[in-house]
């Protein structure tokens, strides 16, 4: 029998509990690895799907040199919102034989609709009426998966009778855009998240391989006694690792395959992700499938590195000693590097060799340092515990002091989870602040349920019908106009300092009703909206009181003149807030303008909002969006990542707690004789149970305090040196405290779960065993 076969045989028939624990741990690792590696490609797959249906227009730059297809296909896309979800409708007029987009086998004829499965469900259901304007026609089929960005996308092709020649003609689909790498913040967040999940799982693997160490030692000693050489013993241990690695990798692959569908729901895309898109690149997949079993085999061999396996048993070569204070050096060095970077970040910005080196080395050293420092911190916790009164505290303190490294090993997984979680939580506000905050400002002026339409109208809305919709509280109509100060000349010789100014046209009182705010409407007919955000720099100097300005028509020609009042009061609603867009608000009595935007105040219920959309003409219906929907759309990616981070932290804590429970249970089982001796000497079981609990709690608490402090310093330094982070991003102390509390509670619960074992193994009869 070759040692490898014997090792495989022993792995399968020896301690089943160990095999199962190791297999589960490796399975977790593989599944997490594959999911993490597939997360970023899934984003790319989505972009590829969107690109595949992108229209290449006849005579566009991409289509240069191509002959236009004989069969004319004209297509116009409208993007809107339905019950908070993005809705895309492509109106199409196609001659037979024209180029088809992915997901369609034919175009819908006039009056026909081909919709995505989710949208088809709506169109078949009792709410179909809500979409009568936006998706007109009868459903004749569904768009197949290649034509959709995600499984839950609301997407449709609607056949229309004919388009005018201004509507773009389709040359082909798929513009084969230049791929852009994912944004740096996203990549960092994704890798941090993956690391945060992976670390506790790796600790679980390490824990599982240590299970029943004494029985493995006995086994190896017995083999050495009958003549197995040290190399054969190593090969046997390696084979045991390899078997667990192969089983775990297979399990992980199956788990990934089965669970990647539900895992897709965690990714921050509103239309969802197809399971097949969550797929790591082939090279990475192969690397995991081959690398993990090999690593498991190597770890099995390395586990024997610090022991001498002799026929008389297994001897540890490393002496158990007190933890040395040098263990704090990597952590302190890492933090020092980050502080140096923070102080000199203007001279060494990120991207320069010193900046990048300090960040990577400092961050890496801090992370490793947290794990390396764990024994010395555990020892400190143990010594503090020793000062407390009571036998349990004394026993636990003695035990920690006898082998602080072993105590640290129990909590290291959780400590690493905490560190990465803390850093990740600090990173979330960066993602949040990097998105547009315009919606937030808008929310301070109108209620979340207010529907605002965009500014391009082909057909006048039936305002009375809108007013009649139950749940509608007020309607304000806004138009806009372009005004020019005196001296403005037309396009060919225009003065850049005197170009046109955009103004909103609307009734102040109607706006006051819609926003439910007290506005100074009685003070005039023209109001100056305060400037907020980024003003239109092209507009030059502001329009002045009493000035005679020209009113431009749609062709950009001065069609009329308007004299601005001598006094223009200020309106406390800023421009660019999403509600008003121009420099002034002019009463329609003074300046007639076609209505272009509606501000409809509703009770915020989804039914009301959809009923409003249903009575609006198509263009307005598609553009109509509540403020809440705008906020949600703007924050969808951020909210998705936040949710993924939270789920990830909970998962990591659970895995960490499981790992800790396994280690504690195994440690209790291994110490059954000493526990039994204590019981035989008359020590009450409750004292032993309390001892086990304190033995884990004390190192955990000392490690948590230092880890949180290190994470806070590292995060503050990192946020301070990243130029893409706006100044004043707050550190999430609340979330940190909550995560630390959750970690401590998880540790205590996991330890408490093993306490019944103390009663079971702590019987004096155990002294008779062996």
């Amino acid at each position: 029998m070759t040692p490898w076969l014997l090792g495989a045989r022993l792995a399968l028939t020896a301690n089943r509990m160990r095999l199962v624990a190791t297999t589960i741990a490796v399975s977790f690792t593989v599944a997490f690895l594959l999911a993490a590696m597939g997360a970023l490609p899934s984003r790319q797959a989505k972009l590829d799907r969107l690109d595949a249906r992108n229209v290449v227009q006849v005579d566009s730059q991409v289509a240069t040199g191509m002959t236009a297809p004989a069969a004319v296909v004209r297509l116009e896309s409208q993007v809107g919102t339905y019950r908070g979800r993005p809705l895309t409708v492509r109106f199409v007029s196609a001659e037979p034989g024209g180029p088809l987009p992915p997901g369609l086998t034919r175009y819908p004829r006039a009056g026909e609709v081909i919709a995505s499965p989710d949208l088809a469900d709506v169109l078949r259901g009792h709410r179909a009426g809500e979409l009568a304007t936006r998706v007109p026609g009868h459903l004749v089929g569904t768009v197949a998966e290649p034509g959709l960005a995600g499984p839950h996308e609301l997407y449709a092709y609607v056949g229309v009778a004919g388009f005018d020649h201004e509507t773009p003609q389709v040359q082909s689909y798929g513009s084969h855009y230049v791929r852009q790498p994912a944004p740096r913040e996203l990549r960092i967040a994704a890798w941090l998240g993956a690391l945060g999940l992976l670390l506790p799982v790796l600790v679980l693997v390490a824990t599982a391989t240590r299970l029943s160490a004494s029985s493995r030692d006995r086994r190896l000693a017995a083999l050495r006694l009958v003549g197995a050489t040290p190399k054969q013993a190593s090969a046997i241990a390696g084979a045991e690792g390899l078997v667990s690695g192969i089983l775990g990798t297979a399990g992980g692959l199956v788990a990934f395959w089965l669970l990647r569908g539900p895992a897709c729901a965690l990714l921050p895309f509103p239309e969802g992700v197809y399971a097949q898109d969550l797929m790591p690149p082939l090279t990475m997949l192969l690397a995991v499938l081959v690398g993990v079993p090999l690593l498991a085999a190597v770890s099995g061999v390395l586990a024997l590195r610090r022991v001498v396996t002799s026929p008389l048993g297994v001897r540890r070569t490393a002496r158990v000693k007190t933890a040395a204070w040098w263990r704090l050096a990597p952590l302190l060095s890492g933090l020092a590097m980050l502080i140096v970077l923070r102080v000199n970040h203007t001279a060494w910005p990120l991207g320069t060799p010193p900046g990048t080196t300090l960040l990577l080395l400092g961050g890496g050293l801090t992370l490793v340092g947290v794990a390396v420092a764990a024994p010395v911190l555990s020892q400190l916790g143990g010594r503090l515990l020793g000062r407390l009164p009571g036998l349990s505290a004394s026993l636990a303190a003695r035990r920690i002091d006898a082998d602080p490294t072993a105590s640290a090993r129990v909590v290291t997984g959780m400590v690493l989870v905490l560190f990465v979680s803390a850093w990740l939580l600090a990173f979330l506000p960066v993602l949040e602040s990097s998105r547009d905050s315009g919606e937030k400002e808008l929310l301070s002026y109108v209620s979340a349920g207010t529907v605002i339409t965009a500014s391009d109208v082909r057909k006048r809305p039936d305002l009375a019908a809108v007013q009649r919709v139950p749940g509608v509280r007020a309607v304000a109509v806004l138009g806009y106009a372009a005004l020019t100060p005196p001296g403005w000349v037309s396009d060919d010789g225009s003065d850049p300092a005197r170009t046109s100014h955009t103004v909103d046209v609307g009734s102040c009182t109607a706006l006051a009703r819609a926003t439910r705010r007290h506005l100074p409407c009685g003070q005039g007919t023209v109001f100056r909206v305060s400037v907020s955000g980024a003003p239109d720099t092209a507009s030059g100097s502001p329009l002045a009181e009493g000035e005679r300005v020209g009113v431009l028509d749609s062709q950009g020609v001065v069609a009329a003149h308007l004299v601005l009042p001598a006094r223009i009061p200020e309106l406390p609603i800023p421009a660019y807030s999403g509600l008003l867009q121009g420099e002034l608000l002019v009463d329609p009595a003074l300046l007639p303008a076609a209505p272009s935007r509606l501000v409809v105040t509703t009770d915020g219920r989804a039914d009301t909002v959809e009923n409003v959309r249903a009575v609006l003409p198509l263009d307005l219906a598609m553009s109509a969006q509540t403020v809440a929907e705008r906020v949600k759309a703007g924050a969808s990616v951020y909210l998705g990542y936040r949710r993924a981070v939270k789920i990830g932290i909970v998962l990591a804590l659970l895995v960490g707690a499981a790992s800790l429970a396994v280690t504690t249970a195994d440690a209790v089982a291994e110490r059954r004789r000493s526990l039994a001796t204590l019981v035989a000497l008359g020590t009450p079981l409750r004292v032993l149970r309390r001892t086990v609990l304190l033995q884990t709690a004390a190192p955990m608490l000392s490690n948590v305090v230092v880890t949180l402090a290190a994470a806070a310093m590292a995060s503050a330094c990192y946020l301070g040196v990243t130029t893409s982070v706006p100044t004043g991003v707050p550190l999430p102390w609340g979330s940190w405290a909550l995560t630390a509390l959750a970690a401590v509670v998880a540790v205590l619960l996991a330890t408490a779960a093993t306490l019944p074992l103390v009663s079971a193994v702590g019987r004096p009869e155990a002294l008779r065993a062996e």
């Binding site: 029998m1 040692p3 014997l6 045989r9 022993l10 028939t13 020896a14 301690n15 029985s215 006995r218 086994r219 000693a221 017995a222 083999l223 050495r224 006694l225 009958v226 003549g227 197995a228 050489t229 040290p230 190399k231 054969q232 002799s310 026929p311 008389l312 062996e770």
Partner: protein, 225 residues
């Protein structure tokens, strides 16, 4: 006395500050059964481990058929344990995850024998030691006496020249102890195998041709031929 098979000359070995052997010397002749006796801590097990090449003395010589055992590499000593030596310890010497027949076949399999051949020979030995019925059982499923007989079978299966037995009956009752010793000594005598036996039981020592008493790591008395 004929040419010794195994010799130990002036062995010294300390574990930390405590000396376990302090100038022990002993010879073992082919086919001889030698009992090492002495109080606890006298160094008898340590001497046995040195003779078997499990421990290497700090000083002194261990010879086996003219080879300096104490100078051999761990690999070569392992090979000797597989081919020329057999072991029966008080407990813990069986691989708990393997069945009795697999345990007995183990030295043969490690030496490169085919599974079928190895297990056939193992089965013969199990039958001979009257434990054929537990061939497919694992260590935990056998009684102590059965387990020791399986260990004896494993010690003898490769046809060793020497069997080292450290308190082979220490965990057994007197009846089972006698049975194990009868079988071990009987089989050894049949194939001319030497036995080095560590015991503190006079009844077990009585099986030996010669008894050597150790005290404080050195030979204090020799009884017998």
């Amino acid at each position: 006395m004929m040419e010794p098979l195994l010799t130990a000359r002036d062995l010294h070995l300390s574990f930390g500050a405590s000396p376990a052997l302090a100038g022990a010397s002993v010879d073992v002749a082919p086919g001889e059964i030698l009992a090492l006796l002495g109080p606890s801590g006298s160094g008898k097990s340590t001497l046995l481990h040195c003779l078997a090449g499990i421990l290497v003395p700090d000083s002194g010589e261990v010879g086996y058929r003219g080879i300096r055992l104490d100078r051999l590499s761990d690999d070569l000593r392992s090979e000797l344990r597989r081919s020329d030596f057999g072991f029966v310890f008080q407990f813990g010497s069986l691989v708990p995850e393997l069945s009795a027949v697999e345990n007995v076949a183990l030295p043969l399999r490690l030496a490169g024998h085919k599974r079928r051949t190895a297990e056939a020979r193992a089965l013969e030995w199990l039958e001979r030691l009257e434990v054929g019925e537990v061939a497919r059982k694992r260590a935990g499923e056998m009684s102590g006496g059965q387990g020791q007989r399986v260990a004896v079978a494993r010690a003898l299966v490769a046809g060793p020249r020497v069997v080292f037995a450290d308190e082979p009956t220490g965990a057994l009752d007197s009846l089972n102890g006698e049975l194990v010793m009868d079988l071990l000594v009987g089989a050894a005598r049949e194939q001319g195998t030497s036995i080095v036996l560590v015991t503190h039981e006079p009844r077990v020592a009585a099986y030996a041709d010669r008894e050597v008493v150790l005290r404080d790591g050195a030979l204090a008395l020799t009884v017998g031929a």
